[in-house]
């Protein structure tokens, strides 16, 4: 990781010094243990703050829309998938974007690290190869990075950026796509059980919209929840039905566009299992259209194209 950080720094400084780009979006060391935080570097000096660690979990594609000038981005696999989806939707001009691709084997979930130390205040997390040492005031624990990954990272088979202008580090061995066990289990539940699960999850929602704002594909100028004429949805948070409506509409709007980066779930302060919904749509789109969003520059977004042999089970008995 420190080596990658140096390579990222060098690449960024070079781009800025040679004035190939006006801005580099990457990660700096954050203020919490093993936490990367988005950084916007406009000079080689500012680029000196760039880093790379197991806490660079934000999807930086979120910051690239409508940025003036030439922009470079430090992008892991899921960032690149989101960039591709945004390029296809005319939100990013590929010619104005320089992608510093970083192969990524996953970011760690601080909730999982905290759970290892009984939710004590984590004071330090030290990386050492494929393990991390987690320290609190009174105790410490060593764990495999692979066991601490975000679920989205655990399931991700696109850690290698699928497009880039420059690659930093070595490409990782191909990883097989994860199955949809959690989704299958959820689908196997009865309607009443699924409803009960939704009610229990979304009673936690505080409507802070962190999920929506963290999602690189959620970029409507006016989100339907913010519209009050007509008022599509109740504005009050006491109604779980409205919380569910918000999320279900959001997820459906991302159908065929969602790159399964898990940014929504990571952003949620209330720990709602949002990815169960987003991944259900990922599964449906994969099964119905054999499509995945943002995995190459060529495919049209699943819902923006039509072929005569598209399944029409929702319409016709097949």
């Amino acid at each position: 990781m420190p080596k990658l950080a140096e390579q990222i720094k060098d690449a960024a400084k070079k781009l800025l010094a040679e004035q190939k780009v006006d801005l580099v979006v990457g990660f700096a060391e954050g203020s919490l243990p093993l936490r990367g935080t988005p950084l916007f570097a406009r000079t080689p000096e500012e680029a000196d703050k760039l880093t790379w660690n197991l806490g660079c979990e934000n999807n930086l594609a979120n910051y690239l829309r409508k940025k003036p000038g030439k922009v470079a981005v430090v992008a892991k696999g899921c960032d690149v998938r989101a960039i591709i989806a945004l390029v296809k939707e005319n939100q990013i001009n590929r010619d104005d974007l320089y992608i510093i691709g970083v192969p990524c084997s996953g970011m760690i979930d601080r909730k999982k690290t905290a759970a290892l130390l009984d939710d004590e205040d984590i004071l330090a997390i030290e990386e050492s190869g494929d393990t991390v040492v987690i320290k609190s005031n009174n105790s410490s624990a060593t764990a495999k990075v692979a066991d601490l990954l975000h679920n989205s990272c655990r399931d991700c088979s696109y850690g290698n950026p699928v497009i880039y202008d420059e690659l930093v580090g070595e490409l990782l061995p191909e990883k097989e796509a994860a199955d949809f066990t959690e989704i299958n289990d959820f689908e196997a539940k009865s309607v009443a059980e699924r409803r009960a699960f939704m009610n229990s999850e979304f009673s936690k929602c505080i409507r802070c919209y962190a999920c929506r704002n963290a999602c690189p594909l959620c970029y409507c100028e006016e989100c339907f929840v913010d519209c009050n004429q007509p008022e599509w949805i109740g504005k009050s948070a006491y109604n779980t039905e409205d919380n569910i409506l918000f999320q279900v509409v959001r997820v459906f709007h991302c159908a065929g566009r969602c790159v399964d980066c898990g940014a929504c779930e990571r952003a949620c302060p209330m720990g709602i299992n949002l990815r169960l919904l987003t991944r259900k749509l990922v599964k449906d789109v994969k099964e119905l259209y054999n499509a995945e969003a943002g995995v190459n520059m060529e495919d049209k977004p699943a819902l923006a194209t039509f072929t005569v042999d598209d399944p029409e089970a929702f319409l016709l008995k097949e």
Partner: protein, 339 residues
């Protein structure tokens, strides 16, 4: 006075028969203040609850009144919550936040009956913080791990028991009613030791911050600070002192209720005018407002900083936007005090 930890559930059960008792309750990986039905539900070992205690007094969504309009006229019904409450296990930062919020809901211009009725009918029982978290900076904003501001009783964890410190008359009456045993000299010295041992390691320097904010509204620093902010409401909704709200009608035709909802200055529609004009056009103006409101406007209006250093915004920001770093950046920014 002192109460043994094993007697806490029984003590709470007694309180429940007379009061609506709120205490931290485990909800997955975090705790939340909930109205408890059994003393054993209270979790007193965790650090701060995910949502602050303000939501008990100023709920995220509160029905102000129901209304219906018929041919014979309009009918309004208000239901003000005047149940007697005990908030048990509140941390000193959250208790202090309510004293700050009192300025907003009870001042020369406005007295908010919903908030004030709850405040008047509530007894606050706090627990001091023996091990403040690394994100706590209460001592930098006039608080402290054993600060009694806003409390009626303060409990100090001495291992197997809590030493009880009486702060107010309300607390005195509750303690008398509970019949707590007297604390021995040993217990008292254990409590004193716990207080002394508790260290808030994080300090935020706010010297000169207000002077700077008085003059740097247009400073270039604001162009940079907000850049990574996603514009979500996580920090404001989890903040014990943020108190902006919006009022909406939840109604079909003329029958329904008027509701007060938390609002957030981070949202694009927060100051959107009916005309379509928005004086805070981008994240820059919105994030600046959050800082200005806490560290300048609130000071101008009420002589206090509207931050208690609980660290919730630091721990929960999706992009690690850290208010400590922001304040440092503002203090160190180029806006000149003599310009």
């Amino acid at each position: 006075m002192i109460i043994s930890k094993k007697d806490i559930p029984g003590f709470l059960d007694k309180l429940i028969s007379e009061y609506q008792v709120f205490a931290p309750v485990q909800e997955g990986s975090y705790t939340l203040f909930k109205s408890i039905t059994s003393g054993t539900d209270a979790v007193l070992t965790a650090d701060n609850t995910k949502l602050p205690a303000k939501e008990i007094f100023f709920p995220q969504s509160e029905k102000l009144f129901n209304y219906n309009v018929t041919e014979t006229g309009a009918k309004l019904e208000t239901d003000i919550d005047d149940r007697k409450k005990v908030i048990f296990g509140v941390r000193p930062c959250d208790a202090r936040s309510l004293v700050l919020l009192d300025n907003v809901f009870n001042n020369d211009k406005f007295q908010d009956p919903y908030y004030l009725t709850r405040r008047a009918n509530t007894i606050m029982v706090g627990i001091g913080c023996n091990t403040p978290a690394s994100t706590c900076f209460c001592t930098s904003v006039k608080g402290g791990p054993f600060d009694t501001t806003g409390l009626d009783l303060l409990l100090i964890d001495t291992g197997d028991a809590f030493v009880v410190e009486v702060v107010s008359d309300k607390g005195k009456a509750l303690a008398k009613q509970a019949g707590f045993a007297a604390a021995s000299d040993n217990d008292k010295s254990a409590a004193a030791k716990a207080k002394e041992a508790a260290k808030v390691t994080c300090q935020v320097n706010i010297d000169g911050l207000k002077d700077k904010l008085d003059i740097n509204f247009y400073a270039p620093i604001w162009d940079k600070i907000h850049e990574k902010c996603l514009g979500c409401g996580a920090c404001t909704y989890l903040c014990p002192t943020c108190h902006c709200f919006d009022i909406v009608d939840d109604a079909v035709d003329c029958n329904g209720c008027r509701v007060r909802n938390w609002d957030s200055c981070a949202f694009p529609i927060f100051t959107l005018h009916g005309s379509g004009h928005n004086p805070r056009t981008s994240n820059k103006e919105r994030y600046r407002n959050r800082i200005m409101h806490k560290f300048k406007y609130f000071v101008d209006n009420f002589g206090e900083i509207a931050c208690v250093g609980c660290g919730r915004c630091i721990k929960n920001c999706p992009v690690n936007m850290d208010i400590r770093v922001v304040l440092d950046d503002v203090r160190g920014s180029e806006a000149r005090l003599d310009s």
